[in-house]
């Protein structure tokens, strides 16, 4: 698949009945072109493969990079930054080849790393201004932007404090500030809410949402937290064990034309779930004794009652629900 011709978006999902078959949902989207594109990219740490033949397209706007720990999310971002060299494949960021135009790419992107990162011995405003200068801003502009950006991320009052004295939440904010100071066209955010308290997390997510939807900054949000991605992003790429298992607009992946029911039964629920899957229903068991069953809108709950009746299973609880990203995630990585 050539990057130039990618005017469509592919949503790849794996069906329960055959985990190795892929269902491609193609959605016409001729206007946007991908800000990041990967073509058969493989990355390895020594003998351990971290990314396996990844082909993906990240459209403009906010895209979530989802996956469990160790799925290869951070590796993918680091490869796009040029920190890691793929063993095979080709990557473009903002239409530029990562191998040949690494510096130009880095001048147009902002990277918020997963781990704490700061320049020792600096206060916040000096640190952010310094990062602005490194990104090519003149010293006076960098200082002015540093003040503005620190206010924007909520560190205005603490901007003269040494970064090393910051709390975890404040360190997350300053990482966002240093990524924003030079006004990038594309942001890479690696687990931006890690270690934050609930209030701080909400504020961080509000900032990210504001950047993507009000300030028109393209961003890729890497996270294993589904609510974070669902709140801030329009599209998602799901990685598992170094491979893309689903990608596309979140609404399309959720399957808005289907109904989802929370179902609790008396009896062998595992056997009933297996029967539902065998009958063609998409069914995810949750941690509790509730299963989430997807039904075509025209069939409704009647189909479930009919199945329960046939299997002699007593329905104890049936409640309509809405499809969530968790369903998409569970389906994509094959969890039950």
């Amino acid at each position: 698949m050539g990057f130039e011709t990618t005017g469509r978006l592919e949503a790849v999902t794996r069906t329960k009945r055959n985990p190795f078959s892929y269902l491609l949902i193609k959605m016409a989207d001729p206007v946007s072109s991908p800000v990041v594109a990967l073509e058969s990219v493989s990355v390895a740490y020594g003998k351990n493969a971290a990314l396996r033949d990844v082909t993906a397209a990240f459209e403009g706007g906010a895209t979530g990079l989802l996956g469990p720990n160790g799925a290869g999310k951070s590796t993918l971002l680091k490869s796009l930054l040029g920190f890691l060299v793929p063993t095979s494949g080709r990557m473009t960021v903002l239409g530029l080849d990562v191998v040949h135009s690494a510096l130009e790419i880095r001048s147009r992107i902002g990277y918020m790393p997963e781990t704490d990162g700061h320049i020792p011995g600096m206060n916040a405003v000096s640190f952010v201004a310094y990062c602005g200068q490194l990104a090519g801003l003149p010293a006076s502009d960098a200082m002015q932007r540093a003040h503005e950006v620190l206010y924007y991320v909520g560190l205005g009052e603490a901007r003269y404090r040494n970064v090393e004295t910051y709390s975890t939440g404040m360190k997350q904010r300053i990482k966002l500030a240093q990524a924003l100071v030079h006004d990038p066209d594309l942001l890479f955010l690696d687990e931006p809410t890690n270690g934050m308290d609930p209030k701080g997390r909400d504020e961080m997510l509000d900032l990210i949402r504001d950047l993507a939807h009000e300030k028109q900054i393209n961003l890729i949000l890497s996270s294993h937290l589904l609510p974070d991605v669902e709140f801030t992003c329009d599209r998602v790429v799901v990685l598992d064990k170094g491979a893309v298992v689903a990608q596309g607009p979140i609404d399309a992946l959720k399957g808005s034309r289907r109904q989802v029911f929370e179902l609790r039964v008396k009896g062998d629920r595992h056997a009933f779930a297996a029967t539902l899957v065998a009958a063609g229903f998409e069914c995810h068991e949750t941690d509790e004794d509730v299963m989430r069953v997807f039904v075509e809108a025209k069939e409704g709950a009647r189909a479930l009652f009919a199945m329960a009746d046939r299997e002699k299973v007593q329905v104890r609880h049936l409640r309509p629900s809405v499809p969530t990203l968790e369903d998409v995630f569970a389906k994509a990585i094959g969890e039950r």
């Binding site: 740490y45 020594g46 680091k78 930054l81 040029g82 920190f83 890691l84 510096l103 130009e104 880095r106 001048s107 992107i109 902002g110 990277y111 790393p113 781990t115 704490d116 990162g117 700061h118 320049i119 020792p120 011995g121 600096m122 310094y130 990062c131 200068q133 490194l134 990104a135 090519g136 801003l137 003149p138 502009d141 002015q144 932007r145 003040h147 503005e148 950006v149 206010y151 924007y152 205005g156 090393e164 240093q178 990524a179 924003l180 030079h182 006004d183 504001d210 950047l211 300030k215």
Partner: protein, 279 residues
């Protein structure tokens, strides 16, 4: 634009061309270090030999009958030899944390996510250390030459010793580059600046001690290339056209310096990365 405006706005101003980020690194590093008063005190201390030299130049110009004070190539060589101690102290003080502190604070991923190559990063760090080292070696030595001309009122000393300015320049830069590359390489190996300082001091003095032991056993100075200060002294004598103090061939000494710098560059190339991959 008021800074209290809390909304994010796009930037439409000027952007510098690439390839200058190393200067940002260097200038910032130098500014950070000269803010330390104790370090400024050390710099002042390092200029005391220059003041003594300047007084000698003045006395030599004013009282030419005192041949004991006459300026020669040997005097300049001795002056740079005296500065060896300050070169060592400043290298440890300034250099130990240059990369180690960045590694400790995970700053490399921040640096290298900006439009800055690894070479530029290393160059910026090298310039920080080299600037302070040249400030206590090349700068005072050249100033002594200038004072000699100024006090004597003629260029006759310079004409008679045409090799002196190039000798001062070549030796100072060699001394500085050797110390700076070695220290940066060691600094990239650890996250602790204290450990790096000990490592550098160990490498510096241990190599000299090994040479001393071999000399004591064999009575030969051919293995002076094993010692960092010994190698530098040998090359210094040759550059200043003085009888070499060791029997090591000049090429061997130069080769030893080249190998140390080469290994240092190799270490830096491997250790300065945005991602540390532990196999």
């Amino acid at each position: 634009m008021p800074i209290h405006d809390q909304t994010y706005r796009r930037y439409a101003g000027r952007r510098e061309q690439g390839g200058r980020a190393w200067m940002v690194v260097a200038v910032n590093g130098i500014r950070t270090i000269i803010k330390k008063r104790l370090f400024l005190g050390l710099l002042l201390l390092a200029w005391i030999p220059f003041v003594v030299g300047a007084v000698m130049v003045y006395l030599n110009a004013s009282f030419p009958q005192f041949t004991l004070l006459s300026m020669t190539g040997q005097r300049f060589r001795d002056f740079l030899g005296t500065q060896d101690f300050f070169v060592f102290v400043i290298t440890v003080w300034v250099g130990a944390g240059l990369i180690a502190n960045d590694k400790r604070a995970n700053a490399l991923q921040v640096y290298l996510s900006k439009p800055l190559t690894r070479t530029e990063y290393i160059m910026g760090k090298l310039v920080i250390l080299a600037a302070f080292l040249l400030l206590v070696t090349w700068v005072p030595a050249v100033l002594l030459l200038v004072l000699q001309v100024a006090f004597s009122g003629s260029f006759s000393f310079l004409r008679q010793n045409l090799y002196l300015f190039p000798a001062v320049t070549v030796f100072s830069f060699l001394q500085v580059l050797l110390a700076a590359f070695t220290m940066l390489a060691l600094s990239s190996l650890s996250k602790s600046s204290r450990y790096v300082a000990v490592l550098y001091a160990g490498a510096y003095w241990f190599s000299h001690a090994v040479f001393g032991v071999i000399y004591a056993i064999t009575g030969s100075t051919k293995l002076s290339w094993l010692s960092l200060p010994g190698t530098l002294n040998q090359i210094g004598d040759l550059i200043f056209r003085l009888p070499p103090r060791y029997s090591t061939h000049a090429v061997v000494s130069l080769l030893a310096v080249a190998v140390v710098i080469g290994v240092s560059i190799w270490v830096l190339e491997r250790r300065v990365r945005g991602v540390e991959v532990v196999s």
